[in-house]
Symmetry: D2
Subunit: 487 residues, 4 copies
C-alpha cells in the first residue's frame, strides 16, 4: 500500500529505491502472534517505518501497531500477549514518520456488517484517488489517507451476500498492484492482482498450518516449509473446513516485478528453487561477460552490490575484496544533523579501505543508480584513498522511469539515467568507465533467453512499459488527499 | 459525548459525579486558536482527560488533540501555530486514559462530499448503539467508539442537498442530550437538543465576533461579553454573511440539567444574571432553614461544598471555618500506589485542621453523596481530630438514579441513597445527624416556587423522571461496541 | 538547601515567595519508604520541583529521586519496593528544572570511610562558596552544585573518630540556616542550626518509632503523634539503642522564621498547640483592627489570603465572599505559552466572580506583596468586573529585604515595598486604599506583645535585621559555581 | 574504563567479546565538537552503550552525554551547539543500560584546584578497588563507580605543583591498561600505559590541528591524516605553545593487545601501514595452510568472519560464498522477547542460504569461540539447510582466559576452550572437523616469525600470560563497589 501524502525528507541523501511493504499471515496456530512477528522481522527489509499485527481469538480482534522496527517494538511479552488467538496477519510499512501516521499503519481494520475485516496490502492502487472521491460522494467516511482503505469501503458497500463475493466485487473496481492478506472472523484470504506484480508465497508449518508471506525467508525464520507461489490473479480462502482457490479475474499475462530479483528481495529468498543470491551472482557474471575490464580487484558497494560482485569475480578471476567498509552503526536516526555532519553523508556509512585500494585499479559493483548522488560520493572517496583507476559496473539496466506499483521512486526528472547520456553520466560520477547490465542480460540472468516483445516481467522502471492503467498517477501522488492536517 | 467502553479505574475512590464535556467555538478572529484554547482551559472542570481543537484557515482544517490537561498540552507556540485560521472549535473530554483513545478525542473530523466537517459534542446520544448497528449494515465504517460519530455518518448519508438540512435530517434520528458546536468550510453551527439538557451560551468578542461555550466563564477569560443562551431546540448558523437562527425541532418543554447549578458549572459562571456561587449560597441558606443544628462551626468539604457552607453560615450565624485543609498537590496521577498508600486515600487529599476542630460541634457541608465512600472517610478523619459532634448537611436531594445525558454516574445499585434508608445512611457515614436538601428547597434555590408536576428542569438523578427515551441505556453501556481491541 | 545556579524562568510572573525545601525521616519501621513518601506528599507545598528518598536495609542504601511532584513519581509499587529497609529519609526541593539537575536532588549520598551517609537539608549555607573553594583546594571533588554538599565534604575530611563528632566538626564551620535529617548505617540524626531559622519537628508512630519532619502536617497524614519541636541548636541521634540529645553549639537567642506563620507552613500545621490557620485568622483580625474600612464584602486572594480574610470578616462583620474564583487546573506546565496566552497570566488562574462583585465595595486580603505584578492584575480584574471600590489589605508588613535562609526571594531592587513609597504603591496597584499589617501587629498575632529590640523571630525580610553572617550572599548567588555546563 | 558493577543481561546470548571503549580528542579547531562526534561515530564498534563529549570554550567546559549510539543522540544541531569551543574530547562506552549509569558515562569531569579536568579512558585499572578504598579513607567522595574516577582523585590529591606532574604522580600508583585523553583549560593530554595494551593514535587535520583516537578509521571519516602511534609509556601534552612529549614511566617491553588485530579494530583501521582487513586475510591464509579441508565453498560467519574467509578462499581456491545471510534489522532492542521468540535467537540475526548450501561441503570461518553457544546454533542451522559436511575454522587460537584490560569476557569457567578438550568441542558444536589457528600462526599473520619467549603482544586471552599485576581482579569484579542502589 502507499500513503499518497508527501514523504518526510530523510536526513541524508539515501539514493536507493525502497520497497514499500511486506505482508504475512498464519491461520490456525496457537502461537500465531509470535510467528507473525518473526515473519515480519524476516521481511523487515521491505519496510522499516512501521509495522502492525491483527489477531483474532474467536471473539474479538486484537491489534498492535508501531512506528519503527519490529524488533524494537513488537517482540515483547506485553505485545504478544496482547494478540491472542489462532489467526493473525501482519504488515511492514515504508513511509513517512510522525505520530499521526499511526492511523495509516496496517493491517487496517473495519467492522463491516458481516463482522470484522483486517487487511494488509503490498502494492499500490493506481486509481485510488478517483475511487476515494466517488466513495465520499456516496457517504463514506475515511479514517486514513492510505490507498488500501478504498478496498475496505468498496467491500463495505458491496451488496453481494457473501464476503468473498463482496471482495471480488471491490477488486474488480481497483487498478494497480496488490498482494493482499485478509483476516475475518472465519477466514484468512490471500489475493494477488491479475499480473502478480508484487510477490506472495504460500507456506506450511507443522504439517498443515497455512502461512502467507511476501518472501520465503519469512518461512525459514520459523522453520516452515515453502509450498508454492500464490499465482497472479489467484484468490485463496482458508477456513476451518479447508482451502478454496478461486480465479475471479479475467486471465492476463503475468508480469511480476523483475527488480525484486535485482534488489528488493532478500538474497536468501527463493523463486522457482533458485535463491536471489544465485540470480544476483549470475547478474554479476553477465556483467563480467558484457563489460569486463582489466583490474586488480572487484569491490562491492556494500551491502547490496555484494552478490553481483562475487559473481563478477568468479566469472572474471579478478579478486573480490572488501575495499569499502560499512559502518554498521548508521541508524536511521541522524536526526537534524549539523551541516558539518550532513556534509559527510557517505562517510558516515562507508569508509574506503585505503591501505587496500591505494595504487590499485578497481571495479566497483553496485545494484543500480537512482539519482547518482551516492555514486558520485563513493567514487570520490575511493579516488581520495588512492585508487589509480575506478570502473563502475551496475547490476541492472539504466533506471529511467518511476514505479507506480508500491516502490518509492523519485520523479522521472530526478532519475540520473533519464536526464543524461551515458558519457555525461560517467563523467559526472567521475569514473574511468561505466557500464550497465543490458536488459537482455538481465532477462538471461533470471533464466529467460532475453526480453520478449511481450515480456515475462514488469520492467517498467527500465523500459517505461507499464502493464496497467495509471489513472491517478501522473502528478496525482502530490494531490491533496485529506482536508485535515493533524499533529 | 460519551465513550461507551468500560472506564479505567481511578486509583482512589473518587466519589463524585463527573461532567463529561465542555465545548467552545469562535468564528472570524485572527487569533482563533489561542482563544479556543483559553476557553477550553476555563472549561477544564467539565472534562480533564483529553482535549482538542480544530481550526480552518480557508483551505485546510488543522487539528491538535491531546490526552491530559489543556494547560499541559495545548498552550505552546508549537500547538497554536499548528492551528492557523479565523475559525476554530474545541472540546474537553472526561474519559478513559490510554493511547488508543486518541481516536475518540473530539472534535471529530470527517471529509464529507460537501467538504470538511468537525464536531464537538456535550451530552449523550441515548440510541447510539441502535443507530451504529444500522449504519454499519448500510456500509458505514466507524473510526471511533464515540456516540458522536453516528451524527457524522447520518449527515454523510443524508441525501438532502444543503449541509444544514443534512444536519437536521441526522438530528431528527437522534435521541438524548446534545449541545453541539460544528465547524465546516463556510459555517460555524450551534445546536442544542430540544430539551436543552446540557448548557450552551453565546458570546461576543471585540464587537461582533461570535463565540460559543458551555459556560460563561469561558467568555470572562478572554474578556468577551455574554450575549444570551442558545435556546433548547435552537440551531444557530454563523457564516460570513451573518447569523441565521432555526428551530428545526418540534417544540417541547425545556428541561435543563439542575445539577449544573448544584455542582457541575463553575461558581463564577452565570445563568439568568445570577452566578452559580450565589445559587449555591442560596442552597446553603435553604439547608440552614430546613435542617439547622446547634454547632460551633460550619466546615465545607473542600472545595465543592464551600459556597453552600458560606450560605449556611450567613443564614445561621454559625461561623464558617476551614476545618478541613486540601492538599493542592494531589494530581490525578497517583498511578498504581502501593497498598499502604492507597489505604490513605482521603488523607492524601485532605487533612483535618485538628487544632481547630478538637472538642467542637461541627457541621460538614458537601454538595452530594454518590457511593458514600468519601463521606465515611471524611467523617472518620474529623472524628479522629477530636470533633465532639459531627453533623452532615448535603446541598442536594438524595442521588438515587444514574444520569444518561453525559454525566458519569455509577449504576443505580451503587448509589448510596438508592440502596439504603436515611437512618442507615447516617449510621454508616457515622454522623450525629444527616440531612439532605429537599427537592422543593432546591427548586426554591434556583428561583422557582418548588418542583411542579411537569418540572422546569431535568432532575432525573434525584427523581428518576427521565425526559427522553433511553433505547440503548438499560445495561447498554456495557455492551461491546467494537470488535477490535487495540494497544 | 539552595542551588546557587541561575533559576529557570517560570512561564508566568508568579509573584510569591517560595519555600525551598521540606525534610522527613523515619527510623525503625517496616514500611519506612511508604511513610516517607506520604510525609513528603504532605510537605509538597515546601518544594515542588523535585523529591527524593534514601532508605537503608541493613546492608545497602537505596535511592529514588525524581523531578516533579511526589504524587506523580514516588508512590508506585515499583518505587516503594525499590526502597527496602527500616529507615528512610526524604526531601522536597524547590528549584530549577532540567535533566541534569537530578544530581542536585536530595537526599545527597556519599560513601565515607565509616560507611554510607545520606543528608536532607532545609535552609541555606551562607558561606558555601568560600567553603567550597577551600575544599577544592584540598583535593575534594564536588558532584553537585548544591550548598549542602559542602557539609558532606567537611564531614569526610574531619579527622575526628566518631561520626557525630565529625558532623559537629563540619557544622561548626558552616554559617546560615539548616534543618538537617541524616541517615547512616547505624543512625538517624536531626540537627537544627543554633537560631532554628527553619522548622523541624519530632513525632512518633505506633508507640515508639521516631519521626522527623519540617511540619506537623506530615505526621497527620500517617496518623502519627506530634511530640515536640527539635530545639534550635539541638542535635538528636537515633540509634537502635535509643535516643541521644546533644547541644554542640554555643547557645544563642533563637530566631525562627516568622514568615512560616504568615505563609509558608500549611494552615493545618501547628506551632505551640496553635494551628497556622488560627494565627492567620488572628493576623486578619489585627488587620481589621489596624485598618478596617467600610465595605460590602471581604474577598480573599485565593488561596493564601483565605484564613486572614476569614479572620478579617469575623472581626469586622463584613461578609466573607468568594469574589475571585481559582481555576484548579493551572498546572506548573504552561510551557512556552504564546504571547496571547501569556498576556492573560492572572486570568488563567483566577476569575472575578462578576455577578457577585458588580457595584460593590470590596476589601481584598492577600498574604504579602513581592514584586506587585500580580496585585496590579488582580485589582484590574476586580475593577473590570464592576467593583465600585477596591481596598487592599496585606497580612504582613512590607517585604523590603531578600531572604538568604532558604527562601527564593527576588533581589532587593525588585521588591515593590523596597523601591516605592506607600502612596505610590497604592496608586500603582490601582486601589482606593492599601494597608499592610504593622510589624507589631504581626508579633501580636503570633502571641508576643510586639517586636522587641532583640526580636524573638527572624523577620529579616521585613526588617533587614539578619541574624547570621552573610559571607557569600551579597551578589554571591550569581557567581559561577561550576566550570561545567551540562545537558 | 570499566564499570565494575554487575552487567545487565542482554536478551540473547551474544556470544562474542566486547571492546569496552573508544576515545577521541581534538585541540584547536573551530568545529571541534562535530569532529569529535564524527570520530566517535567511526569508533562506535568499540562501545555502543553510551557516549559523551566534553568541550572547552576558553571560559567554561560543556558536556553532552547519552545512553545509546552516537548517531542516535549526539549529531543534532542542539547537541553540537551545546558544545562550543576549540577543544573537545569524547568517549564511547560499552556497559550496562539504565538511567543511573549516566553518572558513569565518560568523559568524567571534575573541578580541581587548578581548574577543570575532563578525562576519557580506554582500558581497565586492575587495582582500582584498593585505590578507591584508600581514597575514601582519606576523605574523597566518589561520584561514579567507574575505575577511571580513581585517577581524578589521585590527581586532585597530589601535592605536586604542575598538573602534568600531578597526573604522573597519579598514574604511577595505577596498575593495568589505559589509553587516556585528557582536556584541561590549557591542555589536551594523551597517555598510553607503559605496555601500550590498548591502542592510541595521533592524527592531524588541516595542517596542524592535533587529533587523538583509538584507531585510524576515526581520522578517515573527517579527512584527517594519520601521523603516528602514541607510544607505550608516552605522554604527549598539547598546548597553544606547541607539543611536548614525556616518557614518565620506567621503560618496559611493550605488549599491545593482539586481539585488536583479530577482531576488535575495524578492518579499515591501520597498524604499521597495514589494514586490519589485510591482517585478517593473512590469518585466513594461515588457517587454510594449517588446516585446509576439501570443500565446495567457504562461508563466513557474518560479519566478523568475512576477511579471514576471503583470505582462506584466496589461499585455498575454495569459492567464497554468502551461505549465511545476516538480517540487518536486529537491533540491540529485542527487549524482553517472549520465549517463543527468544528461542529463535540465532535465526533472528542470520539465515542459512538454503538453496546455496543444500548438499554441499562447507567450511565456516569465524573469528573466535567464546562460550560456544552461537557456534552450536549456527552449525545446527547450516545442517538443517542441507549441508552434507560442515567444517569449522577459527581465526584465532582457543580463548582460554579472561581479559582484565578493558574487554568484557566471561569468567574462565564459561569459556568453551577452557573447559573442554578439542574433540569434545567439535562434537558439542556438531562439526565434521574443527580447527583453531595456532598461536604461532597468529604471530606470523601479524608479521612476526612466531611467538617469542617474551612475546611482542599481550595474548593473555590465549596464553594466560598477563603482563601486569591483577591486584583486584581475581573475583574482584564482583565485589560490591558502592553502598548505594539507585533508580
Amino acid at each position: 500500500m502507499t500513503d499518497p501524502l508527501p514523504r518526510a525528507q530523510t536526513p541524508f541523501d539515501d539514493d536507493s529505491l525502497h520497497e514499500e511493504c511486506g505482508v504475512f499471515g498464519i491461520y490456525g496456530h496457537s502461537d500465531s502472534a509470535a510467528h507473525t512477528v518473526l515473519g515480519l522481522h524476516a521481511l523487515q527489509h521491505r519496510g522499516q517505518e512501521a509495522a502492525g499485527v491483527v489477531s483474532y481469538d474467536g471473539q474479538r480482534f486484537h491489534s498492535q501497531r508501531c512506528l519503527g522496527l519490529v524488533g524494537d517494538n513488537l517482540t515483547s511479552e506485553d505485545v504478544i500477549s496482547g494478540l491472542p488467538g489462532d489467526s493473525a496477519i501482519g504488515h511492514n510499512r515504508y513511509s513517512t514518520t510522525g505520530d499521526t501516521v499511526l492511523r495509516n499503519v496496517q493491517p487496517l481494520f473495519a467492522e463491516l456488517s458481516g463482522g470484522g475485516f483486517a487487511i494488509a496490502h503490498n502494492g499500490n492502487i493506481t486509481n485510488a484517488l478517483t475511487l476515494r472521491r466517488d466513495l465520499i460522494r456516496k457517504g463514506a467516511i475515511f479514517q486514513s489517507t492510505s490507498d488500501t482503505e478504498v478496498i475496505i469501503h468498496l467491500v463495505a458497500l458491496s451488496r453481494k451476500p457473501r464476503l468473498v463475493d463482496r471482495l471480488v466485487d471491490a477488486l474488480l473496481q481497483v487498478q494497480g498492484a496488490y498482494s493482499l492478506v485478509i483476516l475475518t472472523q472465519k477466514k484468512m484470504i490471500a489475493v494477488r492482482d491479475p499480473m502478480g506484480v508484487r510477490p506472495l508465497v504460500l507456506g506450511e508449518l507443522d504439517g498443515g498450518v497455512p502461512l502467507l508471506a511476501s518472501e520465503t525467508c519469512a518461512f525459514d525464520i520459523i522453520g516452515a516449509k515453502f509450498v508454492r507461489e500464490i499465482e497472479p490473479g489467484e484468490m485463496v480462502v482458508f477456513t476451518e473446513e479447508g482451502t478454496e482457490t478461486l480465479h475471479p479475474f479475467l486471465p492476463v499475462k503475468p508480469r511480476p516485478c523483475i527488480f525484486e530479483h535485482v534488489y528488493f528481495s532478500r538474497p536468501d529468498s527463493q523463486s522457482n528453487g533458485t535463491s536471489m543470491y544465485e540470480i544476483r551472482k549470475r547478474i554479476g557474471r553477465e556483467l563480467a561477460m558484457e563489460s569486463g575490464v582489466d583490474a586488480d580487484m572487484v569491490i562491492p558497494v556494500p551491502d547490496s552490490g555484494t552478490p553481483a560482485a562475487i559473481g563478477y569475480s568468479q566469472a572474471s578471476g579478478v579478486p573480490f575484496e572488501l575495499g569499502i567498509i560499512r559502518n554498521h552503526y548508521v541508524g536511521r536516526t541522524f536526526i537534524e544533523p549539523t551541516d558539518s555532519i550532513r556534509h559527510l553523508g557517505v562517510r558516515l556509512k562507508h569508509n574506503a579501505n585505503r591501505a587496500e585500494i591505494k595504487g590499485k585499479k578497481v571495479v566497483l559493483v553496485d545494484d543500480s543508480i537512482v539519482r547518482g548522488t551516492t555514486s558520485i560520493k563513493i567514487v570520490e572517496m575511493v579516488r581520495a584513498a588512492g585508487a589509480s583507476e575506478v570502473h563502475m559496473r551496475i547490476a541492472s539496466p539504466p533506471t529511467t522511469n518511476p514505479c507506480f506499483y508500491g516502490v518509492d521512486t523519485p520523479e522521472r526528472e530526478k532519475l540520473l539515467a533519464a536526464r543524461m547520456e551515458h558519457t555525461e553520466m560517467a563523467k559526472l560520477i567521475g569514473v574511468d568507465s561505466l557500464a550497465y547490465l543490458t536488459i537482455d542480460g538481465l532477462y538471461r540472468a533470471v533464466g529467460e533467453h532475453g526480453r520478449n516483445e511481450v515480456p515475462q516481467y514488469c520492467d517498467a522502471c527500465f523500459s517505461g512499459d507499464y502493464p496497467t492503467g495509471l489513472e491517478d498517477q501522473e502528478g496525482g501522488r502530490q494531490s491533496q488527499l485529506s482536508l485535515l492536517t493533524e499533529a
